[in-house]
């Protein structure tokens, strides 16, 4: 086996004109997972295509450590074949006419027979697909296909791994298992891994460095929780699973308390929210998670939460282990409760309820 590659950083500084916006990315991707999270159409796949050499930026530079992939000023653009990259497409792109073994060893044809067999055995074991060898992709289950595709990308020992929502459509358990295999594989070969997704569940399953992307730009980076719990734009809030997006107008600002009061466009409900850069009279958008809203059947007192709003239950819908309530309280709020809470509070359509929302559960987002 080849010696583990030393950890190198992927440095990207590119611009590319797309139909709706300009892709402008400047970032150093360190070894290990970086989740690039953003709504569909944010330019995530184009970014990966540029790194892989399948698309050409208009300007800029892409380098992995000291090896240059692309440099507009020097007119350098390494073809994909020469970049030694692993790239897992959303569609996986397994070759339908080749068996699992043939698919996985496709990228190994330049390697001596003995080493090829060694690497093949190793990767088959690591991804638990030894038994699939002779099968064609059409005879594999969804999870098996993903494992085979991942194995095919990794067996060539790429210097960068690009993953474009490869685990979408798998159940959480399977996703976690595949990610564990992937993590174990990467432990000894520290390479930058870009994991692109618009799926909140996948982010939670990976749980490492995260960076948001929208309209061709990278945004906040940090731990997934800290970034996704405070989305900055409507599209990101939607992608991050904020069910309530409400139009509001700023009424008053209380600088000393770090809060401001806003009036919801629908129904004139007043809420206290964290201070933003807005001025009185400005229109803003609020994002509130349905799971961050508490329900009370009597008027609650003595709470630290600053927002208590009276309303009535409009509809109740069971969604798996969740009950989704629509509550009319001026505006309509979506609220998640457990089936148990639904029973013990005897919640039903038409029943008056009080919504309790903490100030810091209300997130100001910029419409975009």
């Amino acid at each position: 086996m080849a010696a583990p590659l030393s950890a190198v950083t992927l440095s990207v500084d590119i611009r590319k004109r797309l139909s709706a916006f300009e892709l402008r990315i400047q970032h150093e991707f360190a070894p290990g997972f970086t989740v690039v999270f953003g709504p569909s159409g944010a330019g995530k796949s184009t970014l990966l295509d540029c790194i892989a050499g399948l698309a050409k930026p208009d300007a800029g530079r892409i380098a992995l450590g000291t090896s240059l992939f692309f440099d507009a000023t020097q007119n350098i653009s390494l073809p994909p074949q020469k970049r030694q990259i692993g790239y897992l497409f959303q569609s996986l792109a397994l070759f339908p006419h080749l068996s699992v073994i043939e698919n996985i060893s496709y990228g190994l044809n330049a390697i001596p027979e003995e080493e090829r067999r060694q690497r093949l055995d190793q990767v088959l074991q690591a991804f638990h697909i030894e038994k699939l060898g002779e099968r064609k992709p059409a005879e594999l289950s969804g999870g098996e296909k993903q494992r085979v595709a991942l194995a095919r990308s990794l067996v060539t020992q790429p210097r960068v791994l690009l993953l474009d929502e490869p685990l979408t459509g798998l159940d959480a358990g399977l996703r976690r298992a595949i990610l564990e295999d992937q993590r174990a594989w990467n432990a000894e070969r520290r390479i930058p891994i870009l994991y692109v997704t618009h799926n909140r569940d996948e982010v939670d399953a990976i749980g490492e460095q995260l960076i948001t992307m929208e309209s061709g730009r990278l945004g906040k980076s940090g731990a997934p929780r800290s970034v996704l719990d405070a989305p900055q734009t409507v599209a990101l809030a939607q992608a991050a699973g904020f069910e309530n997006l409400l139009e509001a107008r700023v009424q008053a600002i209380r600088q000393a308390d770090g809060v401001m009061r806003v009036v919801l466009q629908d129904g004139g409900t007043e809420l206290e929210v964290p201070l933003g850069s807005a001025q009185p009279g400005d229109r803003v958008k609020l994002a509130i998670r349905a799971g961050d809203i508490l329900l009370a059947v009597e008027e609650p007192r003595g709470l630290s939460a600053r927002n208590v709003v009276k309303g009535s239950v409009e509809s109740i819908e069971a969604r798996g282990a969740l009950e989704v309530l629509r509550v009319k309280a001026g505006a309509t709020f979506l609220v998640h409760v457990t089936p148990g809470a639904l029973r013990s509070l005897q919640l039903e359509v038409g029943k008056p309820v009080w919504l309790v929302v903490k100030t810091h559960s209300c997130h100001l987002v910029t419409p975009q």
Binding site: A52, Q81, I85, G86
Partner: protein, 224 residues
């Protein structure tokens, strides 16, 4: 019935369809994937034989291959022989005549390929040639078969072009359809009938074999 004419036609059809495949594969691959804006011009040139009367095509082919024509001059400079009214001349004219029947099915099947498969191949380090041979060609196989069959069948039955550039030299340019024409002109209906029937049967058997072994080949019949 003229066995000589029949064998000549088969020889012509096999030569032309094999040569056409070799020419059409790269051409079709390029047409399917190029982003060149002027590609419609080339597409039009390839499709011309579909709309032109064979006599028009044959007429220009004859002029080009004549002693004063570009092809004719080049040929006699290279081989010291004239090109018109020879088997080689017939092959060259037929290549143009049957070109769309080879190129179009190939372009269609290359275009229907999932591009991501070719991207994946490149990412895995394969050269463009290797991607073509290992991925594009095997997956476009039904298109290759269709191209072969259509150009074979089309060349086997051609008449107008042959008459224009080949004339009617037994064993050299006298193909089966010319033979049938001649016999009909000479009121040898029995002879014409025998030859026509043989052509009909051979065509039927060839198509049956192809459709029988490969249902995915282009056919006027709905897929089952």
């Amino acid at each position: 019935m003229s066995m000589e004419a029949f064998i000549l036609s088969l020889r012509l059809a096999v030569t032309v369809s094999v040569m056409l495949l070799i020419v059409s594969l790269p051409l079709a691959y390029w047409l399917a994937f190029t982003r060149w804006r002027g590609k419609f011009l080339l597409e039009s040139v390839v499709a011309l034989p579909l709309v032109l009367p064979p006599t028009v095509l044959g007429f220009y082919a004859l002029i080009a291959m004549g002693p004063q024509g570009v092809l004719g001059k080049l040929w006699s400079a290279m081989f010291g022989r004239p090109l018109a009214f020879t088997f080689a001349g017939l092959v060259i004219a037929s290549l143009f005549y049957s070109l769309p029947f080879a190129v179009q099915p190939l372009v269609a099947s290359f275009e229907s390929l999932d591009r991501r498969l070719l991207d994946a191949s490149a990412i895995l380090g394969a050269s463009r040639l290797r991607s073509f041979l290992r991925i594009a060609l095997p997956l476009a196989w039904p298109g290759v078969i269709t191209a072969l069959i259509l150009s074979f069948a089309h060349t086997l039955g051609e008449f107008g072009v042959v008459l224009m550039v080949g004339g009617n030299l037994p064993g050299i340019t006298r193909t089966i359809s010319i033979d049938i024409y001649d016999r009909t002109q000479a009121l040898d209906y029995a002879g014409a009938h025998q030859t026509a029937l043989l052509l009909l049967c051979v065509s039927f058997v060839v198509l049956s074999i192809v459709y029988g072994i490969n249902r995915r080949v282009w056919s006027p019949w709905p897929h089952r």
